[in-house]
């Protein structure tokens, strides 16, 4: 199998041949030739200005009883008696999909000590029904028990789509659910839609956000996706009514092969980072360890979390848990302020999903300005104190 070129659309410009990482494309006199070396990486597909290249379709497995799967499901994550924000976001996204299809939206709650306030909250956010499995074996998370239980429910009720948050929990056990159900899973989606025939259109960033890809799962059900937190907008539907069903599962579902020895909750920096509405990050431009306090001052003033580039982490000015980027955390706050950070691609991939990006850098050619909403070309040692003064003055502190 290899990429397919539509000769009617192709202009034989040869750009695809230049980007092909395996040199499988050759430019002939008046056509493009794709050899068997093609790895179906899709680089050429995106590069083609004329939309002349596509990939062949996935194997057409037993498309048998797709129609017997109905309804949209959301796996509702919760902790310490409250529903995780991402579950609200998923319910509002799921509501739209369910309405478009004319099918019910259900939420699944797993754990121990699940009370009314949790189920009420899910219904108030759009769930038509909530399935609850409340068992002491589920008090602590294990991939085995959580995945086996969810698989049991899916086999019994057959939803057409299942969404979960792309949290550490979702990204850990949901792949097991997909593998046990032998269905497709798309990770970390940022956009969801559903076609008239019920195909879930799952859009997600790839290559660190440099490319977006829309993915489908044509022949298997349920269609499964994890969704990146803080991307979808939660919506409350106060007068929405729904039912709660407590479901029994066989004890065999609840056995785990691992033993959880310790759970140490710590609202540490890493967690604070991914949940913060505002992040102020510092880079190597701060020059000296003590200058990092400038960043901390701004952060404290606007109630923000503190981030850092790897540059600053490598200098030892701040702990690695604050690092944003490819080998650090991926964040998407309302405001991300990058101070004295060059904007290397490895940093940018971790923060480009932010709603507003402010870059403070004295080099007007710094790549960080390419992704900035507001670019402040300034020496940070002049600008930051002035910015802090301005905020204080507005609040009447000075």
């Amino acid at each position: 199998m290899k990429a397919i070129v539509d000769p009617k659309k192709c202009s034989v410009c040869g750009v695809c041949a230049d980007v092909c990482p395996v040199g499988a494309i050759t430019v002939k006199e008046d056509s493009i030739d794709v050899s068997d070396d093609c790895t179906l990486c899709s680089m050429c597909v995106d590069t083609c200005e004329f939309g002349a290249i596509c990939l062949p379709e996935v194997g057409s497995g037993p498309a048998a009883d797709l129609a017997s799967f109905k309804g949209i499901w959301v796996y509702a994550e919760w902790r310490d008696g409250t529903v995780h924000k991402v579950s609200h976001e998923l319910l509002s996204a799921g509501r739209k999909l369910a309405d478009k299809r004319g099918v019910p939206l259900s939420a699944v709650l797993l754990g121990h000590g699940i009370n009314h306030s949790l189920t009420d909250e899910l219904i108030a956010h759009g769930a038509d029904s909530v399935y609850v499995v409340d068992r002491p074996e589920l008090a602590k998370f294990t991939d085995d028990a959580y995945a086996n239980t969810l698989v049991h429910l899916v086999r019994e009720k057959k939803p057409e789509a299942l969404l979960a948050g792309a949290t550490t929990m979702g990204r850990s056990f949901v792949p097991r659910v997909a593998a046990l159900l032998e269905t497709g899973l798309t990770a970390d989606c940022t956009e969801l839609d559903i076609s008239e025939e019920g195909l879930l259109l799952q859009t997600r960033p790839a290559f660190g956000g440099n490319v977006m890809a829309t993915i489908i799962c044509p022949n298997k059900r349920p269609q499964m996706a994890t969704v990146r937190p803080k991307v979808m907008k939660p919506a409350r539907q106060l007068d929405h009514k729904g039912t709660v069903e407590r479901v029994d599962v066989p004890t065999s579902c609840l056995a785990a092969r691992v033993e959880v020895l310790e759970v140490v909750p710590e609202m540490d920096q890493t967690a604070k980072l991914t949940e913060a509405d505002v992040i102020v990050s510092g880079g190597r431009g701060l020059k000296r360890p003590e200058n990092f306090s400038l960043i901390e001052d701004v952060a404290q003033l606007v109630n923000a979390a503190v981030g850092a580039s790897r540059g600053a982490v490598e200098e030892g000015w701040i702990a690695p848990s604050h690092q944003v980027g490819q080998t650090g955390r991926t964040v998407a706050p309302t405001l991300y302020m990058a101070v004295g950070i060059a904007g290397a691609i490895q940093h940018v991939v971790g923060m480009q999903g932010s709603k507003i990006i402010v870059a403070v850098n004295k080099d007007p050619n710094a790549p960080i300005f390419d992704v900035a909403t507001y670019g402040v070309v300034a020496d940070l040692f002049d600008f930051i104190p002035a910015f802090v003064r301005k905020i204080r003055q507005e609040r009447g502190d000075e």
Partner: protein, 263 residues
């Protein structure tokens, strides 16, 4: 003890970008690197080898060029490597990839621990580890930052979750996916570089793995990419110039207008 690390060759992110004029994907050259998280997986395996004398095998599924990635791990001290390469593997999604890796590990037989990187930087799915473990019917732990032996037949691992840390006990054989905290990858040594030059890297295709061509690659995949496009570019960029006081005032007003919480 026998440890298998699964690695992936990925395009260097530096070389993948959008051309601002044509708004299309540009990859300068064909430079590939070992997925950075997989180097941590290899390092984690080598640290256990240092301690226990375990044997470390590295496997990768990829085109013939991926052999280079395997040699790079031999340069760092890995004992053996296997390249899973076959035209039939092209276009694999995470399910088809896991199916192929699982067949290779079954063929190896005596494996006590499988280590994968947290995720690959091209796809960022983090799915192959858990799917592979599920296919092999062994327990797993994701986002691991510390690994230690616990007696003869268990590992004790520390996971970093969104909520904090967790310590888990896993029986062998098992699979873990690792974070960078497991340790900075060691540099290649002269001795191992010599060895890497001469090392034989067996290539296994569907024949050797006993896999049906229908079950791997694009045919064996459940998900399919239907559209690839460039993310919408920021068109709303505002440059703020002038004296620091003026800049501070302007930025403040913009952020206030945008109703940024905390301002």
């Amino acid at each position: 003890m026998h440890i298998v690390a699964c690695i992936k060759q990925v395009p260097d992110a530096k070389n993948v970008r959008i051309d601002p004029n044509t708004n299309t994907l540009v990859r300068q050259g064909v430079e590939s690197i070992v997925n950075p998280f997989d180097l941590f997986a290899v390092e984690a395996a080598l640290r256990i080898k240092d301690e226990t004398g375990a044997k470390v095998t590295v496997i990768t599924m990829g085109p013939p060029q991926a052999e280079q990635a395997l040699r790079e791990t031999i340069e760092r001290g890995v004992d053996e490597s296997i390249l899973l390469s076959d035209r039939a593997f092209a276009g694999s999604d995470t399910w088809a990839t896991s199916t192929t890796l699982a067949a290779a590990i079954r063929k190896l037989g005596d494996v006590d621990l499988i280590i994968c990187g947290k995720q690959a930087i091209d796809g960022d799915t983090a799915q192959v580890g858990p799917e592979l473990a599920t296919l092999l019917d062994i327990p797993y732990a994701t986002f691991v930052k510390e690994i230690g032996l616990m007696g003869e037949s268990h590992f004790r691992v520390t996971r970093q979750t969104d909520e904090g840390t967790e310590v888990w006990k896993l029986p062998m054989p098992c699979l873990i996916t690792v974070l960078k905290e497991v340790g900075e990858p060691r540099l290649p040594s002269l001795r191992h570089k010599m060895r890497a030059k001469k090392a034989e890297v067996p290539v296994w295709g569907i024949g050797q793995l006993g896999l049906d061509a229908e079950k791997v690659g694009l045919s064996g995949s459940y998900t399919q990419v239907v559209r690839v496009f460039s993310p919408p570019r920021r068109t709303d960029r505002v440059l703020i110039e002038g004296l620091p006081e003026v800049q501070a005032e302007q930025l403040f007003n913009y952020l206030k207008e945008a109703k940024v919480p905390g301002l």
